[in-house]
Structures are given as C-alpha cells and as structure tokens.
C-alpha cells in the first residue's frame, strides 16, 4: 500500500472533496439565480404599483386637458440599470411594465382608472 498523495485514501478524499465543492457551488448558484429572478419580479411589481398609483392619484386631482404627469421609468436592479417600458393602452384599466434582464423578459401590472391616458413616447400621463 502506497502512502502520501498518490494513495487510494488521498484519491478518495480528493474525489469526495471535489464532489462536495461542486455540489455546493451548484446549490449556491441555484439559490442565487432563483433569488435574482424573484427579486427582479418583486422590483417590477413594486415599480408597477408606484407608477400605477401615481397615475391614479393624478386622475384624482381632476386634471384639466393641459395638465400632465411626467414619468421616469428607469429603475435599478442589483446595481444594473434596468430599462423598462411602461404601457397603458387606451381602453385598458391596467398599467404594465415590461423589462428584460439578462435575456429574460419580465412584466408586472397594476390596475389604473380607465380614463387615464398615457403617452409612451414622451412618458407623460395626460388627462
């Protein structure tokens, strides 16, 4: 029986260590990816709530035809700037935020008064 680094014991120990290290790496990576995915979704939901609530509050002020509310729809997720698109088609009582983060498309929506109009080109909410 050989002893030292070329022994069967050492080989087995290294194999077991490698297995544990790779398993842990895979496990932590999986947890990180799931948390990141969930975090982006939660951030978008919160952003949709914020934007939708602003639109509803604007409508509650009885705006005149010349009044408008300026939106800024860029939000930051995990240090990366996430450019998102706000949509609120006429006749739809929902504002939807769509964003792409690391190749995956996410969206979140929030109910908004039907009478609210949104100009996506200028990011303006108009009466």
């Amino acid at each position: 029986m050989k002893k030292g680094i070329n022994s069967l014991d050492a080989f087995l120990a290294i194999m077991i260590m490698l297995f544990i290290v790779f398993w842990m790496q895979n496990f932590f990576n999986l947890v990180y990816e799931n948390a990141q995915d969930f975090g982006v979704q939660v951030t978008l939901s919160t952003e949709a709530m914020r934007v939708g609530s602003m639109m509803n509050s604007f409508y509650a002020t009885n705006p005149s035809p010349t009044d408008y509310l300026q939106l800024n729809s860029s939000i930051t997720v995990f240090g990366d700037k996430l450019d998102c698109r706000v949509t609120k088609p006429r006749g739809d009582a929902n504002v939807t935020i769509v964003a792409t983060y690391k190749g995956t498309k996410y969206n979140a929506s929030y109910p908004v008064a039907l009478q609210v109009n949104y100009d996506p080109l200028n990011q303006k909410v108009i009466a």
Partner: protein, 141 residues
C-alpha cells in the same frame, strides 16, 4: 485518532457546512416570504387609490363647472362601479365591495370579500345631501 468517524475535526467541519447551508436556505426563505407582503401592499394601495379617486373625482359633485371633492353625487355611483369593474375584472384574482353607510349605495364584484382571507379596507368621510357618511372600499385577494 485515525480511522474514526466521530472525531472532533469531522464534527467541526460538519457543523460549519450545516451552518453555511442552513444560513443560505434561511436567506432564500426570507426572500420568498416577501411575496405575500407584496400582495398585501398591492391590495392596500389599490383600495386607497380607489377611495381617493372616488371622493376627489369619480363621485364628486359638480356644480357650475366646479368639482366639489368629498361631496358625493349619488347619480355618479354607476361611474364608480363601472370603473371598479374595469380595474378588477371577472378574470382578476381580486374581489371588491364599495358601500356608503345609510344611503343604500353598495356594489360588489367577483363575489365580494365575504369569504376572502386577505382584505384591505379604505374609508373616507363623504357628504351626501349635507349629511356626513362613510365610504367603505374593500379590495381582497
């Protein structure tokens, strides 16, 4: 001692690995526990938005081109229920109810909030024909 499983080195390393894995799982659980909080925040926000829009705009009495916030025109009740049914359609997981006490004005959507567990309530004092009453908006999941 060599060749033994229950030595202190193994115990310490097993303990450290258990702490690291346990902490990671706990962190992940903390993240997922945020989901119900977000849903509750959403229905709270929605109930407040609807109540605010109702008293300041949708139900507000109009007199000579002026809007009178908090003074409710009962004839505009249909506008509020129409708006609510658009915002919370039949396909939505949410349900709602809107009532003004004593005046007999009430509406429910998607079965109302009677059997739902997560309920958000928003109340506003409004005036109908000079009398103060309570507008009660409930949104539930």
């Amino acid at each position: 001692m060599r060749g033994q499983l229950f030595i202190s080195d193994v115990l310490v390393s097993a303990l450290i690995i258990t702490i690291i894995v346990g902490f990671t799982v706990w962190e992940a659980e903390q993240v997922y526990n945020a989901a119900p909080d977000i849903q509750q925040d959403k229905i709270n926000s929605l109930a407040n938005d609807i109540a605010q829009m109702a008293v300041k705009n949708i139900l507000a009495n109009r007199s000579e081109g002026r809007v009178l916030p908090n003074w409710v025109d009962p004839a505009r009740w249909g506008l509020l229920t129409g708006n609510m049914s658009q915002m919370i359609p039949l396909t939505s997981p949410y349900a709602y109810s809107a009532t003004i006490t004593h005046s007999g004005l009430s509406a429910t959507g998607n079965g109302g909030c009677g059997s739902r567990s997560n309920v958000a309530v928003s109340r506003r004092i409004v005036y109908i024909n000079g009398a103060a009453e309570e507008l009660n908006i409930k949104v539930c999941l």
